[in-house]
Symmetry: C2
Subunit: 528 residues, 2 copies
């Protein structure tokens, strides 16, 4: 897959992908109408930056998979937050001194040994799609970025238990392509699916497209193997266990600070053959949220269950901006799901929703068949959103997202307070701004609101502007009882608001020192 | 509840509960037939032991909730494994020097301070039903056993999110009684339900009666609060999170070594009103297991899904010993489940099962109505099994259980090897013996086999005999790819076979030292 396409060094995804010029102009037109007077001219990217000479030399034994070459270093200089993308476009990046592409756990261990000898930091890097500064080199010491994608194979498939042993550097589409002959699928589709890796998902506790049930990758993991500076961290491959605190759950979310994840046994599923869904309109996000709460507390487990507030719906081309939209989808590998969808539709109608189209059912094996038209429009927009964001950034807009999760009792208040606080911060910092919200995942006891901000930015000042807005939003989220992040991870950007209780923070830091005594691994992320 | 009944100081549960004399004689008759020549005379319990003088004095400030009194110390001297029960009956126990019954987190902290000052170990103790030596005082230093049951209240119920904040010392029935006015239930029923506590469940990653889906208490926890020697360990109350490794998941399974759990927010459910189930016969355990695998991989989520091998079924009064028995039960709070049960029954028949009775459906709100007759017989036997075990121990039988979990690809081989190895060990050590197996929990990728052993023991030599048999069984389990435990925890008894990889073991030990620098908390459990 990588072979056919070129990764962008200064933007999301692959060069040449993303929305058409017409689609970009439509979005820019919306911005121009909403932010009259804003300068929306195109900012051309700069030439790639000339990098400082690397502070490292590659040991001869590692020469076959490590490089000091400029293009490789530039490709690994930043993640893909708005601030990252702007910095990359302007050539204002701190690149790693070297890039390693180990092909095995032994080669990963050799890279860690090299880092220890050279006093270098090591940054594990999968798809590089972090939007929280999770892969950006810190200053002050040499850095080796360890790119895992040379370890991208499905090593073993257990059809009886429906599980597979997969190397951590497997990228979404390539992982699924390798599983396809078995008829099984991991069915884990984060928004970064076409770029990100299994190891990255595990390291960041990523959440996939499932809106209910198997949301975080946590629930798909049977065991994890990681290379640490003191040896191989592995766990028994099990469906479940009651033997002590889970070793896997300590690696899940460790964001490269405890070890370099090299492979995992993960749970697979049969590929869905039956689909049915519906799209409903509600007065507002709170009304749609209440309907979703009723569904999931009643035991429904829709694969897709997204609530878009009126503005978010309109910006995504689903709805006219007068109401919130709920997109519901059910899937099964074994049996028709129309009845489930009909029951959910009826419950949502009873809760105040309206649906002109009703349930749209899919034929067995029908790919996107069975996804209602508006749901399909939303899905396309979802996958292309980061590309569109880049285009808007180039036109002088501040365009970014942040997310959280909270219990149902606090949800409406959180959404209201965070929206108001962030809008006020945008007005103060940028003069104007929009905040939209969707609910991306639903649990029996709560839901995950996801916010998008759009504002006219000051060219060159976006990072400082965003820092101010982000701080206001993060503090509002924490005060309202949300998590600092639901699935974007902590990285360096969320570190000020990542606030575990002191005993746990001490325990985590001590665990880190025990397995990484020299502090090589991703310094500055999660732990100071 | 405790007020009305007297806890047995040397056996399971409450004095006067358990099987009738007739039921015991029936079981003894089976033993006599199977183990001819065995001495099955009744061994009378000894007078309670005279304890050595306590090595501690209670500080004046703690006098209102700490005691050195002999009866309290004897009640907290052992857990409830077979070896524990035999030792207690014979007065061969090492009792703690003091028992604390703190009523608040502040009083828990005061107990830890006292232990630190006095050089004492502190053993958190809920229901005291550990079957793995999880609450037995180690020798060599003074011991304060911290009994949590004075913290037994439901503090807060959030009906909107369906969650509650509950103190750790709440015992099963009392916890449910307090939730009843809300119409909600934790619905967590381990075999020790009538005795054990929320805090104990969390500390040991207990598994409840649900055979699928919400198996371990892990999945019911929104947040946990614990008192550690360095302060209060708490987490944000959330449906889910992606912010760093989960603090809760490090406490889950920590078995009292990292802190004293004082309260938790837990997820509740509506009380089930609809039930339907079926009982099937299969040629053997493997055939029934294969049918269960088909069910759960097809998406079925039965509340009850127990497979009993032929002998286990016969000993529990369900079946004639010629085939394995599968007991299936479905439940719902919102809708009838006959259709689900019928679909499961059809699938199991297609997989080779037979059922004379077919689906038995329950009326809404019908308590045990809707549980098929054989399922109800099995359920009664399940809850009374530990009492019966005690009666058999008093008659000179070795009677004990152990359990594990593994993936489906290895299950049949594991059951065969572990059964054969354990049977051989019983024959070598005891001259004869029976090993039966059931599958207690089913996952899409595996299942949990639970073994029961019965053998003629040597009076006074049971502990040594069991140690030999247990070692053989544990080694067979690990070699065959199982976990050292699925839901009995590690304690002191499993410590020799609890084998995390070195980096994780280092991390866990370092985390322990960070929050318990003096090593007060449950020394010898999990970590050396």
């Amino acid at each position: 897959m990588d072979a056919d396409r070129t990764r962008s060094a200064s933007g999301w995804g692959y060069v040449g992908e993303g929305p058409s010029a017409g689609e970009v102009e439509r979005a820019v037109g919306l911005l121009a109408a909403r932010f009259p007077g804003a300068d929306l001219s195109v900012e051309a990217p700069m030439a790639p930056p000339v990098l400082p000479a690397p502070r490292l030399t590659v040991p001869a034994a590692l020469a076959s998979f490590c490089t000091l070459e400029g293009d490789a270093r530039r490709l690994h200089a930043v993640g893909r937050s708005s601030v990252d993308v702007l910095a990359a476009r302007r050539g204002q990046v701190t690149a790693p001194d070297a890039v390693a592409l180990p092909r095995s756990a032994a080669e990963v261990a050799a890279v860690l040994d090299w880092c220890a000898d050279a006093g270098a930091a090591c940054i594990p890097f999968g798809g590089g799609t972090s939007v929280v500064g999770g892969v950006n080199p810190p200053s002050g010491r040499p850095v080796v970025t360890l790119q895992t994608r040379a370890m991208g194979r499905v090593l073993e498939v257990d059809r009886v238990s429906r599980a597979a042993r997969i190397q951590a550097g497997a990228v979404g589409p390539d992982l699924e392509a390798q599983l396809r002959p078995s008829g099984l699928s991991l069915r884990f589709y984060p928004q970064s699916f076409e770029l990100s890796t299994l190891g990255g998902w595990i390291a960041t506790r990523a959440a996939g497209h499932y809106a209910t049930r198997l949301v975080h990758v946590d629930d798909l993991v049977e065991s994890v193997t990681a290379v640490t500076p003191v040896g191989l961290w592995s766990s028994r491959r099990l469906p479940s266990s009651g033997a002590g605190p889970s070793p896997d759950r300590l690696l899940l979310g460790s964001e490269g600070t405890l070890g370099v994840i090299t492979e995992a046994w993960v749970r697979l599923q049969d590929r869905p053959r039956f689909r049915a869904g519906a799209t409903l309109r509600f007065a507002d996000l709170a009304a749609a949220g209440a309907a979703v709460r009723g569904l999931v507390q009643g035991g429904a487990q829709p694969a897709n269950c997204r609530v878009l507030d009126p503005l978010e719906a309109a910006l995504n081309g689903v709805g006219d901006g007068t109401g919130a939209v709920l997109v519901l989808g059910f899937e099964s590998a074994s049996q028709p799901v129309e009845a489930e969808a009909e029951a959910a539709l009826a419950a949502c109608r009873a809760a105040g929703g309206t649906s002109a189209e009703g349930v749209v059912a899919g034929a067995p094996g029908g790919g996107s068949v069975g996804r209602p038209g508006e749901a399909e429009a939303w899905r396309r927009a979802f996958l292309r959103a980061p590309y569109l964001r880049d285009a808007l950034l180039a036109r002088g807009a501040l365009a970014e997202t942040f997310e959280t999760v909270t219990t149902w009792d606090r949800l409406d208040e959180l959404v209201a307070v965070v929206s108001a606080t962030t809008t006020a911060a945008l007005r103060e910092v940028c003069g104007d701004g929009l905040v939209t919200c969707r609910l991306t995942h639903a649990y029996p006891d709560g839901a995950a609101p996801y916010f998008t901000v759009l504002a006219p930015a000051r060219r060159g000042g976006e990072a400082a502007q965003w820092a101010q807005v982000k701080a206001a939003a993060a503090e509002a989220i924490l005060s309202a009882g949300g998590s600092v992040t639901h699935h974007h991870a902590v990285g360096r950007d969320h570190r000020p608001w990542y606030d575990p209780s002191l005993p746990f923070a001490l325990a985590l830091a001590a665990a880190k020192r025990a397995v990484d005594p020299a502090g090589l691994l991703n310094p500055g992320v999660l732990i100071d």
